[in-house]
Symmetry: C2
């Protein structure tokens, strides 16, 4: 009994083809954008990438996993291109409302970019029905962004713009979740006005002041 591997005879990463890996990422993302997630198949990805099916099955265990890594790769690439620390930190001008509104406007734009929308919709949908995928989606894609809001709200607390007993992790859901639900479930239109309103409601509540 030699070294016990999680999946018998694990493949040798040293000999892995970088060329194939990237071709698979690109094919997966393109297909999801063009044909939609349900019509995106492993066979289709392999064919478009000019790759044997086994190469996909060797390194990933599901369509969702392929797309997750492909999308993660795309995000990192986009982050590198935009330059470090561009959209990836929430500004702190001292005016919490203005800063949140500014970031949410960028988010609104991003949600309408097909190259971003198609894969993240697909992954979100898969995550709703498959808890494992869902938690991976949250941990790798969502949580890092949410943490930025936590930090910004904490700063606002120290500046006296947010009550100290407020839980930042819950506070951010007052504007993130409504936007997310409208986008994911088509419960309503998404606009700058809308996100601006969310920030106002979140900061001051709906009760008389």
């Amino acid at each position: 009994m030699a070294t016990q591997n999680p999946k018998q005879t694990a493949p040798d990463t040293a000999r892995r083809s970088e060329r194939s890996r990237r071709a698979i990422y690109e094919a997966a993302l393109d297909l999801v954008v063009e044909a939609g997630y349900p019509k995106t198949t492993i066979e289709g990805i392999a064919a478009r990438a000019g790759v044997g099916k086994q190469t996909i099955y060797r390194w990933w265990s599901s369509k969702a996993e392929v797309l997750m890594e492909a999308f993660l790769d795309l995000s990192e690439q986009a982050a590198r291109e935009a330059g470090p620390e561009k959209v990836y930190v929430i500004p702190d001008t001292g005016d919490l409302a203005a800063d949140l509104k500014a970031v949410l406007r960028l988010t609104v734009d991003q949600l309408k970019d097909p190259r971003f929308e198609a894969p993240s919709r697909a992954l979100a949908a898969e995550g709703v029905v498959d808890e494992k995928v869902g938690r991976a989606f949250v941990a790798k894609l969502l949580e890092p962004s949410l943490q930025l809001y936590v930090d910004r709200v904490r700063a606002a607390q120290e500046a006296g713009q947010v009550r100290p007993e407020i839980d930042p992790r819950i506070a951010l859901e007052l504007w993130v979740s409504p936007l997310a639900q409208r986008w994911l479930q088509y419960t309503g239109p998404i606009s700058y006005d809308y996100t601006d309103t969310l920030v106002d409601y979140a900061l001051h509540g709906i009760a008389p002041r």
Copy 2:
């Protein structure tokens, strides 16, 4: 050229078998609970319902549509059993915060009932990726419940507990959407404490009063 039907020679509803219809509803719901949505197939539903596949294809156009009607039927049935006007109107004791907290606690319980959770997760997931299904899901299942919050917030506005310029349709998202997102996407735990906190934040905001 006789009466032009949307789908050539539409079936005759008068001769439709009620017995088969209900057997299909039950089989679909059971399979989704037991095996999960992806493993629920039309062939599987037909087999378990003791029904020919054609009977399903005759009356529905997709797995999602079958499940949607089945779940709608289940909801109406549950509503009838609970008696008219039980959970289906939001109480108005004059204390908006208390009323919202009470209803949200019931929602939390409902979200954890497997017989309810499995189908609504499945439909929500399908709706994320298929806009047609998504809009139907919202219109038939979500919107009616949300309307109750709109009515309750309007009453609160007339009672002077909510500022008059507040849009009730957006206000309700301050507590509904965060709960929905935590449930759908596994972004955090769901508890009475959590929903109580949401109501407090929504009413009074996070800024110093």
